[in-house]
C-alpha cells in the first residue's frame, strides 16, 4: 500500500464548497529514463484517479508520464449530504488503492 495524505473536511454545511486534497507516494516512472546500465526503465505511473461522493463521481483525472512523483491533487465539490468520500488511484503494474473518508453535512 502506498502512503497517502488526505484532507477531506470532517464536517461541512449543506451547500458549502469543500476542498479535497490528496498526496500519494508513487515514483511516477516515465518509461523514458535510462537506468545506470543504460536500459530504459519500464513505465510505472498512476493512470487514473477517481473520487466519488456518496457513489457519484465528483472528480476524476487521467495522469500522464509528465506528472512528477508523489502526485498532489486538489479539487472542490459541493457538500450535499453526510456520507462517504471514496478516492481510488489506479495505475501500471496493477496498482490500485482506495481510501475513504466520512463527511458529516449539517
Amino acid at each position: 500500500m502506498a502512503r497517502v495524505l488526505i484532507n477531506v473536511p470532517r464536517s461541512a454545511r449543506r451547500g458549502d464548497v469543500i476542498t479535497i486534497r490528496t498526496l500519494i507516494q508513487h515514483t511516477m516512472e516515465t518509461g523514458y529514463r535510462p537506468n545506470a546500465q543504460g536500459d530504459v526503465m519500464p513505465r510505472d505511473i498512476i493512470r487514473r484517479f477517481t473520487c466519488t461522493y456518496d457513489g457519484a463521481v465528483v472528480f476524476s483525472a487521467e495522469l500522464s508520464p509528465a506528472i512528477a512523483a508523489n502526485p498532489f491533487l486538489s479539487f472542490t465539490t459541493v457538500a450535499t449530504s453526510s456520507g462517504t468520500v471514496t478516492m481510488t488511484w489506479e495505475g501500471d503494474n496493477g496498482f490500485a488503492q482506495t481510501e475513504t473518508r466520512a463527511i458529516e453535512v449539517t
Partner: protein, 240 residues
C-alpha cells in the same frame, strides 16, 4: 582583503550576518509546497518514520524525547569516540539497542526515521557545536569547506560565500545552510540526506565524493551547523 573581511565576518555574532535559508531563494510555488504539510511530499516520509518509530523505538523513547535532538547533531558518540550525525545515531541505536542489522545509509527506512526525528525539531534553532571534543572535526570541516577540489578546482567557499545569491545555470546559488534535512528535492523526486546533497556538489565540480557515512561529511556538517547556528530547522524542507 577579502580573506580579512571573511575572518571579520566569522568573528561577528551570528545574528549580525545576513544569513538566509535556501528557502528564501526558491520560487514562490516551491515555497508554498514546503509551507503546506498537505502538499509537502516530505511529509509522506515523516509519516512513514512515525509508524516505524512507534513500532521499533517507543520501548525506550517517546516522541517528546526526540524534540530538539536534531538541533544538536552531529554530536559526540561515546561508544566510538567520534562525532556522529543524526542518521548515524539512529543506525547505531538500531544496531546496539535493538540488536538487528542497521538500515543502510540513504535507504528509505533510515531516511523516514531521520526525517521523523528531525521533524520533531522543526522551528527550533540549530545549536552551535560546543562540545570541546568536537573541535578537531569542526576544524576539519572548516578546512574541507575552504579546500578547492575537482577538475573545476572550486571550493565550497567560492560558490556558497563568494557567489551566493548569483546564478549558476538555472539555479540560484544558496548560502548552503543545512536547515532542512532530510528534505524533498524536486530534482530527486524524493527525500534525501545532507550527505546526498554534498555528494551532488562534489560531483558537480567533478571531484570524487566521499563514501556515504564518511567522517568527512560529519566534519562538514559540523562546520555548516556552526555557520548556521541559530537558524531554524525546517525538516522536511523542499528544494528545487
Amino acid at each position: 582583503m577579502k580573506r580579512l573581511l571573511a575572518l571579520l565576518l566569522l568573528a561577528l555574532p551570528a545574528s549580525a550576518q545576513d544569513r538566509r535559508s535556501g528557502f528564501e531563494d526558491m520560487a514562490r510555488e516551491t515555497q508554498a509546497m514546503q509551507r503546506d504539510d498537505m502538499q509537502n511530499p516530505g511529509m509522506l516520509w515523516v509519516a512513514e518514520g512515525e509508524d516505524r518509530f512507534n513500532r521499533d523505538c517507543t520501548a525506550c523513547h517517546s516522541e517528546a524525547s526526540m524534540r530538539g535532538v536534531a538541533a544538536r547533531y552531529p554530536a559526540w558518540d561515546e561508544a566510538t569516540g567520534a562525532p556522529i550525525d543524526l542518521a548515524g545515531r539512529i543506525s547505531a541505536c538500531v544496531e546496539r539497542h535493538q540488536r538487528v542489522a542497521p538500515p543502510a545509509r540513504e535507504s528509505q527506512p533510515l531516511l523516514a526515521l531521520t526525517a521523523y526525528v528531525a521533524h520533531q525539531s522543526r522551528g527550533l534553532p540549530i545549536s552551535r557545536p560546543s562540545d570541546p571534543r568536537l573541535a578537531p572535526a569542526l576544524e576539519q570541516g572548516r578546512a574541507l569547506y575552504g579546500e578547492r577540489r575537482g577538475q573545476l578546482d572550486l571550493s565550497c567557499v567560492q560558490c556558497h560565500d563568494d557567489n551566493a545569491g548569483r546564478r549558476l545555470a538555472g539555479s540560484t546559488i544558496p548560502q548552503a545552510h543545512p536547515t532542512g534535512y532530510p528534505l524533498y528535492r524536486l530534482e530527486w523526486q524524493g527525500v534525501g540526506s545532507l550527505q546526498r546533497r554534498l555528494r551532488g556538489c562534489m560531483t558537480g565540480v567533478r571531484s570524487e565524493p566521499f563514501a556515504y557515512g564518511a567522517a568527512e561529511y560529519v566534519a562538514l556538517e559540523l562546520f555548516l551547523n556552526d555557520r548556521a547556528a541559530g537558524m531554524l530547522l525546517e525538516t522536511p524542507a523542499v528544494r528545487p
